[in-house]
Amino acid sequence: MVKKRVIPCLDVADGRVVKGINFRNLREMGEPVELARRYSELGADELVFLDITATLEGRGPILDVIGRAADELTIPFTAGGGVTGVDDARGLLLAGADKVAVNRAAFDEPGILTTLAAEFGSQAVVVAIDARAGEVVTHAGREPRGRDAVDWAREAVERGAGEILLTSIDADGTRAGYDLDLTGAVADAVDVPVIASGGAGEASHLADAFAAGAEAALVASIVHERPDRLPELKTELREAGWAIR
Protein backbone atom coordinates (compact mmCIF):
# COMPACT_ATOMS: atom_id res chain seq x y z
CA MET A 1 0.00 0.00 0.00
CA VAL A 2 1.28 3.45 -0.89
CA LYS A 3 2.38 5.38 2.21
CA LYS A 4 0.83 8.64 3.34
CA ARG A 5 3.28 11.47 2.74
CA VAL A 6 4.42 14.33 4.96
CA ILE A 7 5.69 17.20 2.81
CA PRO A 8 7.54 20.25 4.18
CA CYS A 9 6.97 23.38 2.10
CA LEU A 10 9.73 25.97 1.71
CA ASP A 11 8.91 29.53 0.64
CA VAL A 12 11.73 30.95 -1.44
CA ALA A 13 12.29 34.63 -2.26
CA ASP A 14 15.30 35.74 -4.30
CA GLY A 15 16.93 32.37 -3.76
CA ARG A 16 16.59 32.31 0.05
CA VAL A 17 14.08 30.51 2.26
CA VAL A 18 11.88 33.01 4.03
CA LYS A 19 9.14 32.85 6.58
CA GLY A 20 6.57 35.54 7.23
CA ILE A 21 2.97 36.18 8.02
CA ASN A 22 0.84 37.07 5.00
CA PHE A 23 3.98 37.81 3.00
CA ARG A 24 4.93 40.59 5.48
CA ASN A 25 7.78 40.61 7.97
CA LEU A 26 9.74 38.13 5.89
CA ARG A 27 12.52 36.58 7.86
CA GLU A 28 15.40 34.70 6.24
CA MET A 29 15.59 31.06 7.22
CA GLY A 30 18.61 30.04 5.18
CA GLU A 31 19.81 28.47 1.98
CA PRO A 32 17.01 26.44 0.34
CA VAL A 33 18.97 23.38 -0.76
CA GLU A 34 20.74 23.10 2.61
CA LEU A 35 17.45 23.31 4.47
CA ALA A 36 15.88 20.88 2.01
CA ARG A 37 18.67 18.38 2.57
CA ARG A 38 18.16 18.66 6.31
CA TYR A 39 14.45 17.86 5.92
CA SER A 40 15.35 14.98 3.64
CA GLU A 41 17.70 13.58 6.31
CA LEU A 42 14.93 13.99 8.89
CA GLY A 43 12.62 11.79 6.80
CA ALA A 44 10.64 14.21 4.62
CA ASP A 45 8.82 12.13 1.99
CA GLU A 46 8.87 14.89 -0.55
CA LEU A 47 9.39 18.67 -0.64
CA VAL A 48 7.72 21.70 -2.17
CA PHE A 49 9.61 24.86 -3.12
CA LEU A 50 7.26 27.82 -3.56
CA ASP A 51 8.82 30.85 -5.20
CA ILE A 52 7.27 33.94 -3.65
CA THR A 53 9.51 36.37 -5.52
CA ALA A 54 7.26 39.20 -6.57
CA THR A 55 8.57 39.84 -10.08
CA LEU A 56 9.24 37.74 -13.12
CA GLU A 57 12.69 39.36 -13.43
CA GLY A 58 13.50 37.92 -10.03
CA ARG A 59 12.87 34.33 -11.21
CA GLY A 60 16.50 33.56 -11.98
CA PRO A 61 17.45 32.45 -8.47
CA ILE A 62 14.67 29.85 -8.21
CA LEU A 63 15.94 28.09 -11.35
CA ASP A 64 19.38 27.91 -9.78
CA VAL A 65 17.84 26.50 -6.57
CA ILE A 66 15.86 23.90 -8.56
CA GLY A 67 18.93 22.82 -10.50
CA ARG A 68 21.00 22.34 -7.37
CA ALA A 69 18.12 20.60 -5.61
CA ALA A 70 17.88 18.17 -8.56
CA ASP A 71 21.60 17.42 -8.18
CA GLU A 72 21.74 17.07 -4.44
CA LEU A 73 18.38 15.78 -3.19
CA THR A 74 17.50 12.10 -3.19
CA ILE A 75 13.76 12.61 -2.60
CA PRO A 76 11.22 14.09 -5.04
CA PHE A 77 10.29 17.74 -5.04
CA THR A 78 7.69 20.05 -6.56
CA ALA A 79 8.42 23.60 -7.69
CA GLY A 80 5.76 26.25 -7.92
CA GLY A 81 4.65 29.70 -6.92
CA GLY A 82 3.83 32.45 -9.36
CA VAL A 83 3.95 30.26 -12.47
CA THR A 84 2.70 32.60 -15.19
CA GLY A 85 2.26 30.24 -18.10
CA VAL A 86 3.36 27.11 -19.88
CA ASP A 87 6.91 28.33 -20.58
CA ASP A 88 7.43 29.24 -16.96
CA ALA A 89 6.19 25.80 -15.84
CA ARG A 90 8.29 24.04 -18.46
CA GLY A 91 11.34 26.01 -17.27
CA LEU A 92 10.95 24.67 -13.72
CA LEU A 93 10.57 21.07 -14.95
CA LEU A 94 13.52 21.34 -17.33
CA ALA A 95 15.60 22.82 -14.51
CA GLY A 96 15.08 19.51 -12.69
CA ALA A 97 11.86 19.71 -10.65
CA ASP A 98 10.03 16.37 -10.48
CA LYS A 99 6.68 18.17 -10.55
CA VAL A 100 5.45 21.69 -11.17
CA ALA A 101 2.58 23.29 -9.24
CA VAL A 102 0.44 25.65 -11.30
CA ASN A 103 -2.16 27.84 -9.62
CA ARG A 104 -3.63 30.97 -11.23
CA ALA A 105 -2.18 30.32 -14.69
CA ALA A 106 -4.10 27.03 -14.81
CA PHE A 107 -7.32 28.60 -13.54
CA ASP A 108 -7.07 31.35 -16.16
CA GLU A 109 -6.05 28.98 -18.94
CA PRO A 110 -6.74 25.32 -18.09
CA GLY A 111 -5.22 24.11 -21.38
CA ILE A 112 -1.81 24.61 -19.75
CA LEU A 113 -2.45 21.46 -17.72
CA THR A 114 -3.13 19.46 -20.88
CA THR A 115 -0.03 20.77 -22.63
CA LEU A 116 2.23 20.00 -19.66
CA ALA A 117 0.72 16.54 -19.12
CA ALA A 118 1.24 15.65 -22.79
CA GLU A 119 4.88 16.66 -22.58
CA PHE A 120 5.92 15.50 -19.11
CA GLY A 121 3.15 13.10 -18.06
CA SER A 122 0.36 13.99 -15.63
CA GLN A 123 2.45 12.69 -12.69
CA ALA A 124 4.57 15.85 -13.15
CA VAL A 125 1.62 18.25 -13.17
CA VAL A 126 0.19 19.52 -9.88
CA VAL A 127 -2.71 21.95 -9.83
CA ALA A 128 -2.51 24.23 -6.80
CA ILE A 129 -5.93 25.36 -5.62
CA ASP A 130 -6.44 27.95 -2.88
CA ALA A 131 -9.96 28.11 -1.44
CA ARG A 132 -11.90 30.20 1.02
CA ALA A 133 -15.30 28.91 2.18
CA GLY A 134 -15.19 26.44 -0.72
CA GLU A 135 -14.58 29.12 -3.35
CA VAL A 136 -11.46 29.34 -5.52
CA VAL A 137 -9.32 32.38 -4.69
CA THR A 138 -6.15 33.48 -6.48
CA HIS A 139 -3.48 36.15 -6.01
CA ALA A 140 -2.36 34.82 -2.62
CA GLY A 141 -5.91 34.78 -1.35
CA ARG A 142 -6.85 38.29 -2.46
CA GLU A 143 -9.10 37.54 -5.44
CA PRO A 144 -12.25 35.43 -5.10
CA ARG A 145 -13.03 33.84 -8.47
CA GLY A 146 -16.65 32.83 -8.03
CA ARG A 147 -16.04 29.15 -8.72
CA ASP A 148 -16.56 26.16 -6.50
CA ALA A 149 -13.21 24.59 -5.61
CA VAL A 150 -14.52 21.03 -5.97
CA ASP A 151 -15.83 21.80 -9.43
CA TRP A 152 -12.51 23.35 -10.50
CA ALA A 153 -10.57 20.40 -9.04
CA ARG A 154 -12.65 18.00 -11.13
CA GLU A 155 -12.02 20.00 -14.31
CA ALA A 156 -8.29 20.38 -13.58
CA VAL A 157 -7.95 16.59 -13.35
CA GLU A 158 -9.88 16.10 -16.59
CA ARG A 159 -7.48 18.58 -18.20
CA GLY A 160 -4.40 16.63 -17.12
CA ALA A 161 -3.43 17.46 -13.53
CA GLY A 162 -2.05 14.37 -11.77
CA GLU A 163 -2.20 15.72 -8.24
CA ILE A 164 -3.98 18.49 -6.32
CA LEU A 165 -2.28 20.76 -3.80
CA LEU A 166 -5.31 22.05 -1.91
CA THR A 167 -4.81 25.00 0.43
CA SER A 168 -7.53 26.34 2.67
CA ILE A 169 -7.00 30.06 3.13
CA ASP A 170 -9.36 29.93 6.11
CA ALA A 171 -7.25 27.35 7.92
CA ASP A 172 -3.83 28.58 6.80
CA GLY A 173 -1.68 29.74 9.68
CA THR A 174 -4.26 28.84 12.34
CA ARG A 175 -2.62 25.57 13.45
CA ALA A 176 -6.15 24.45 14.25
CA GLY A 177 -6.18 21.65 11.69
CA TYR A 178 -6.76 21.27 7.96
CA ASP A 179 -10.12 22.14 6.40
CA LEU A 180 -11.51 18.63 6.49
CA ASP A 181 -14.79 19.37 4.70
CA LEU A 182 -12.96 20.89 1.76
CA THR A 183 -10.28 18.16 1.72
CA GLY A 184 -12.88 15.41 1.87
CA ALA A 185 -15.09 16.95 -0.80
CA VAL A 186 -12.20 17.34 -3.26
CA ALA A 187 -10.73 13.90 -2.49
CA ASP A 188 -14.14 12.31 -3.10
CA ALA A 189 -14.60 14.16 -6.37
CA VAL A 190 -11.32 13.19 -8.06
CA ASP A 191 -9.25 10.04 -8.59
CA VAL A 192 -5.81 11.68 -8.31
CA PRO A 193 -3.93 12.15 -5.01
CA VAL A 194 -4.83 15.21 -2.95
CA ILE A 195 -2.29 17.04 -0.76
CA ALA A 196 -3.98 18.83 2.15
CA SER A 197 -2.46 22.19 3.02
CA GLY A 198 -3.06 24.93 5.57
CA GLY A 199 -3.67 24.56 9.28
CA ALA A 200 -1.27 21.85 10.46
CA GLY A 201 -0.57 22.14 14.18
CA GLU A 202 -0.16 18.59 15.43
CA ALA A 203 0.00 14.97 14.26
CA SER A 204 -3.73 14.38 14.79
CA HIS A 205 -4.43 17.10 12.22
CA LEU A 206 -2.47 15.19 9.59
CA ALA A 207 -4.24 11.99 10.61
CA ASP A 208 -7.62 13.73 10.21
CA ALA A 209 -6.64 14.92 6.72
CA PHE A 210 -5.62 11.37 5.75
CA ALA A 211 -8.92 10.06 7.13
CA ALA A 212 -10.75 12.67 5.05
CA GLY A 213 -9.10 11.24 1.92
CA ALA A 214 -5.82 13.16 1.51
CA GLU A 215 -2.84 11.11 0.34
CA ALA A 216 -0.38 13.65 1.69
CA ALA A 217 -0.18 16.62 4.05
CA LEU A 218 1.83 19.79 3.66
CA VAL A 219 3.57 21.20 6.73
CA ALA A 220 5.32 24.55 7.01
CA SER A 221 5.57 26.64 10.16
CA ILE A 222 5.43 23.73 12.63
CA VAL A 223 8.54 22.14 11.12
CA HIS A 224 10.37 25.37 10.25
CA GLU A 225 10.14 26.37 13.87
CA ARG A 226 11.75 23.11 14.96
CA PRO A 227 12.83 20.67 12.20
CA ASP A 228 13.02 17.76 14.66
CA ARG A 229 9.25 18.01 14.84
CA LEU A 230 9.16 16.28 11.44
CA PRO A 231 10.38 12.82 12.55
CA GLU A 232 8.24 13.15 15.69
CA LEU A 233 5.14 13.78 13.57
CA LYS A 234 5.90 10.74 11.46
CA THR A 235 6.44 8.56 14.53
CA GLU A 236 3.17 9.73 16.09
CA LEU A 237 1.30 8.99 12.86
CA ARG A 238 2.89 5.55 12.61
CA GLU A 239 1.92 4.82 16.20
CA ALA A 240 -1.63 5.90 15.38
CA GLY A 241 -1.70 3.15 12.76
CA TRP A 242 -1.08 5.11 9.56
CA ALA A 243 1.13 3.64 6.84
CA ILE A 244 4.07 6.02 7.03
CA ARG A 245 7.54 5.57 5.56
Binding site: A118, Q123, E215
Partner: protein
Amino acid sequence: MRVAIADYGAGNLRSLSSALARAGVEPHVTTDAVTVHDAPLALIAGVGHVESAAAGLARNGLDDALRARVQAGRPVAGICVGMQLLFEASEEGGEGLGLLEGPVRRVRARRVPHMGWNTLAETRASSVLDGLDGEDVYFAHSFAASPADDGVTIATVDHDGRLVAAVESGPVAGVQFHPERSAAAGARVLENLVRWSRSA
Protein backbone atom coordinates in the same frame (compact mmCIF):
# COMPACT_ATOMS: atom_id res chain seq x y z
CA MET B 1 32.67 3.04 -15.91
CA ARG B 2 30.73 4.93 -18.53
CA VAL B 3 26.91 4.77 -18.52
CA ALA B 4 25.04 6.06 -21.57
CA ILE B 5 21.63 7.60 -20.85
CA ALA B 6 19.62 7.61 -24.07
CA ASP B 7 18.34 11.18 -24.54
CA TYR B 8 15.08 11.17 -26.46
CA GLY B 9 14.05 14.68 -25.51
CA ALA B 10 11.77 13.86 -22.58
CA GLY B 11 12.30 16.05 -19.58
CA ASN B 12 15.33 16.46 -17.44
CA LEU B 13 17.89 13.76 -16.74
CA ARG B 14 19.91 15.83 -14.30
CA SER B 15 18.84 14.14 -11.07
CA LEU B 16 19.49 10.68 -12.52
CA SER B 17 22.93 11.76 -13.76
CA SER B 18 23.81 13.11 -10.33
CA ALA B 19 22.61 9.95 -8.62
CA LEU B 20 24.69 7.79 -11.00
CA ALA B 21 27.75 9.92 -10.32
CA ARG B 22 27.21 9.25 -6.60
CA ALA B 23 27.06 5.53 -7.43
CA GLY B 24 30.61 5.88 -8.77
CA VAL B 25 30.03 5.78 -12.52
CA GLU B 26 30.37 8.32 -15.30
CA PRO B 27 26.91 9.23 -16.70
CA HIS B 28 26.75 10.41 -20.28
CA VAL B 29 23.44 11.83 -21.53
CA THR B 30 23.51 11.36 -25.27
CA THR B 31 21.50 11.34 -28.50
CA ASP B 32 24.33 9.50 -30.29
CA ALA B 33 23.46 5.95 -31.37
CA VAL B 34 27.09 4.77 -31.42
CA THR B 35 27.64 5.93 -27.84
CA VAL B 36 24.40 4.25 -26.74
CA HIS B 37 25.45 1.07 -28.55
CA ASP B 38 29.01 0.94 -27.23
CA ALA B 39 28.75 2.03 -23.57
CA PRO B 40 29.18 -0.72 -20.96
CA LEU B 41 25.65 0.05 -19.72
CA ALA B 42 22.82 1.89 -21.49
CA LEU B 43 19.88 3.39 -19.62
CA ILE B 44 16.47 4.52 -20.85
CA ALA B 45 14.93 7.03 -18.45
CA GLY B 46 12.90 10.24 -18.54
CA VAL B 47 9.23 11.03 -18.19
CA GLY B 48 6.21 11.56 -20.43
CA HIS B 49 4.30 9.40 -22.88
CA VAL B 50 5.52 6.08 -24.24
CA GLU B 51 4.43 7.20 -27.70
CA SER B 52 6.54 10.38 -27.82
CA ALA B 53 9.42 8.61 -26.07
CA ALA B 54 9.44 5.83 -28.67
CA ALA B 55 9.33 8.43 -31.46
CA GLY B 56 12.21 10.29 -29.79
CA LEU B 57 14.31 7.12 -29.63
CA ALA B 58 13.62 6.31 -33.29
CA ARG B 59 14.54 9.81 -34.44
CA ASN B 60 18.22 9.27 -33.70
CA GLY B 61 18.34 5.53 -34.31
CA LEU B 62 18.64 4.89 -30.57
CA ASP B 63 15.95 2.20 -30.78
CA ASP B 64 18.05 0.10 -33.17
CA ALA B 65 21.18 0.72 -31.12
CA LEU B 66 19.41 -0.54 -27.98
CA ARG B 67 18.02 -3.62 -29.76
CA ALA B 68 21.44 -4.43 -31.22
CA ARG B 69 23.03 -4.22 -27.76
CA VAL B 70 20.55 -6.64 -26.30
CA GLN B 71 21.02 -9.07 -29.21
CA ALA B 72 24.73 -8.98 -28.48
CA GLY B 73 23.96 -9.72 -24.82
CA ARG B 74 24.96 -6.27 -23.54
CA PRO B 75 22.97 -4.71 -20.69
CA VAL B 76 20.11 -2.25 -21.11
CA ALA B 77 18.13 -0.95 -18.14
CA GLY B 78 14.91 1.08 -18.17
CA ILE B 79 13.72 3.42 -15.43
CA CYS B 80 10.03 4.43 -15.04
CA VAL B 81 8.77 5.18 -18.58
CA GLY B 82 12.07 3.61 -19.66
CA MET B 83 10.95 0.31 -18.14
CA GLN B 84 7.63 0.55 -19.99
CA LEU B 85 9.60 1.13 -23.22
CA LEU B 86 11.24 -2.29 -22.83
CA PHE B 87 7.83 -3.87 -23.51
CA GLU B 88 5.35 -3.86 -26.42
CA ALA B 89 2.13 -1.91 -27.08
CA SER B 90 1.02 0.59 -24.44
CA GLU B 91 -2.57 1.52 -23.59
CA GLU B 92 -1.22 5.06 -23.53
CA GLY B 93 -0.64 4.73 -27.28
CA GLY B 94 2.50 3.73 -29.14
CA GLU B 95 4.84 0.76 -29.11
CA GLY B 96 7.83 0.04 -26.95
CA LEU B 97 11.06 -1.59 -28.08
CA GLY B 98 9.73 -5.13 -27.65
CA LEU B 99 12.83 -6.29 -25.75
CA LEU B 100 10.44 -8.01 -23.35
CA GLU B 101 7.04 -9.49 -24.20
CA GLY B 102 3.79 -8.05 -22.92
CA PRO B 103 1.73 -4.88 -23.02
CA VAL B 104 1.78 -1.77 -20.86
CA ARG B 105 -1.55 -1.14 -19.18
CA ARG B 106 -3.21 1.74 -17.39
CA VAL B 107 -3.05 1.42 -13.59
CA ARG B 108 -6.52 0.65 -12.24
CA ALA B 109 -6.82 1.93 -8.68
CA ARG B 110 -8.79 4.43 -6.60
CA ARG B 111 -5.91 6.93 -7.00
CA VAL B 112 -4.01 7.28 -10.27
CA PRO B 113 -1.17 8.25 -10.71
CA HIS B 114 0.30 5.73 -8.27
CA MET B 115 2.25 8.39 -6.44
CA GLY B 116 4.50 8.12 -3.43
CA TRP B 117 6.58 5.67 -1.40
CA ASN B 118 5.55 2.05 -1.62
CA THR B 119 7.02 -1.26 -0.51
CA LEU B 120 8.89 -3.63 -2.82
CA ALA B 121 7.82 -7.26 -2.54
CA GLU B 122 10.46 -9.52 -4.05
CA THR B 123 9.05 -12.32 -6.23
CA ARG B 124 12.42 -13.96 -6.84
CA ALA B 125 16.04 -13.30 -5.98
CA SER B 126 17.81 -10.95 -8.40
CA SER B 127 20.99 -8.92 -8.70
CA VAL B 128 19.15 -5.68 -9.38
CA LEU B 129 17.08 -5.75 -6.19
CA ASP B 130 19.59 -7.51 -3.96
CA GLY B 131 18.91 -6.35 -0.39
CA LEU B 132 15.80 -4.36 -1.35
CA ASP B 133 12.96 -6.72 -0.38
CA GLY B 134 10.56 -4.82 1.89
CA GLU B 135 12.18 -1.43 1.23
CA ASP B 136 10.13 1.65 0.32
CA VAL B 137 10.88 3.37 -2.98
CA TYR B 138 9.22 6.28 -4.80
CA PHE B 139 6.69 5.68 -7.58
CA ALA B 140 5.02 8.26 -9.87
CA HIS B 141 3.23 6.62 -12.80
CA SER B 142 -0.17 5.95 -14.37
CA PHE B 143 0.83 3.00 -16.59
CA ALA B 144 2.62 -0.23 -15.76
CA ALA B 145 4.14 -3.15 -17.66
CA SER B 146 2.30 -6.45 -17.78
CA PRO B 147 4.94 -9.07 -18.69
CA ALA B 148 3.76 -12.06 -20.74
CA ASP B 149 6.26 -14.20 -18.83
CA ASP B 150 5.84 -13.94 -15.04
CA GLY B 151 9.39 -15.18 -14.74
CA VAL B 152 10.88 -11.82 -15.72
CA THR B 153 9.23 -10.08 -12.73
CA ILE B 154 11.55 -9.67 -9.76
CA ALA B 155 9.34 -7.49 -7.54
CA THR B 156 5.78 -6.25 -7.28
CA VAL B 157 4.11 -3.46 -5.36
CA ASP B 158 0.58 -3.26 -3.97
CA HIS B 159 -1.65 -0.40 -5.12
CA ASP B 160 -5.24 -1.70 -4.97
CA GLY B 161 -3.78 -4.84 -6.57
CA ARG B 162 -0.35 -5.97 -7.66
CA LEU B 163 1.74 -3.92 -10.06
CA VAL B 164 5.04 -5.04 -11.54
CA ALA B 165 7.74 -2.93 -9.87
CA ALA B 166 10.87 -4.40 -11.46
CA VAL B 167 11.99 -6.93 -14.07
CA GLU B 168 15.22 -8.69 -14.96
CA SER B 169 15.80 -11.03 -17.89
CA GLY B 170 19.24 -11.74 -19.32
CA PRO B 171 20.77 -8.42 -20.39
CA VAL B 172 17.51 -6.48 -19.83
CA ALA B 173 16.39 -4.94 -16.55
CA GLY B 174 13.79 -2.36 -15.57
CA VAL B 175 12.45 -0.57 -12.51
CA GLN B 176 9.10 1.24 -12.49
CA PHE B 177 10.07 3.43 -9.53
CA HIS B 178 12.59 6.29 -9.41
CA PRO B 179 15.87 5.13 -7.83
CA GLU B 180 17.29 8.66 -8.12
CA ARG B 181 14.39 9.84 -5.93
CA SER B 182 14.29 6.94 -3.48
CA ALA B 183 16.86 8.02 -0.89
CA ALA B 184 19.24 5.30 0.39
CA ALA B 185 17.19 2.42 -1.06
CA GLY B 186 17.37 4.06 -4.49
CA ALA B 187 21.12 4.55 -4.25
CA ARG B 188 21.46 0.85 -3.54
CA VAL B 189 19.37 -0.02 -6.62
CA LEU B 190 21.66 2.07 -8.83
CA GLU B 191 24.76 0.43 -7.35
CA ASN B 192 23.13 -2.96 -7.93
CA LEU B 193 22.33 -2.03 -11.55
CA VAL B 194 25.95 -1.13 -12.19
CA ARG B 195 27.15 -4.38 -10.61
CA TRP B 196 24.54 -6.36 -12.58
CA SER B 197 25.64 -4.72 -15.85
CA ARG B 198 29.22 -5.86 -15.26
CA SER B 199 28.11 -9.48 -14.99
CA ALA B 200 25.11 -9.43 -17.38
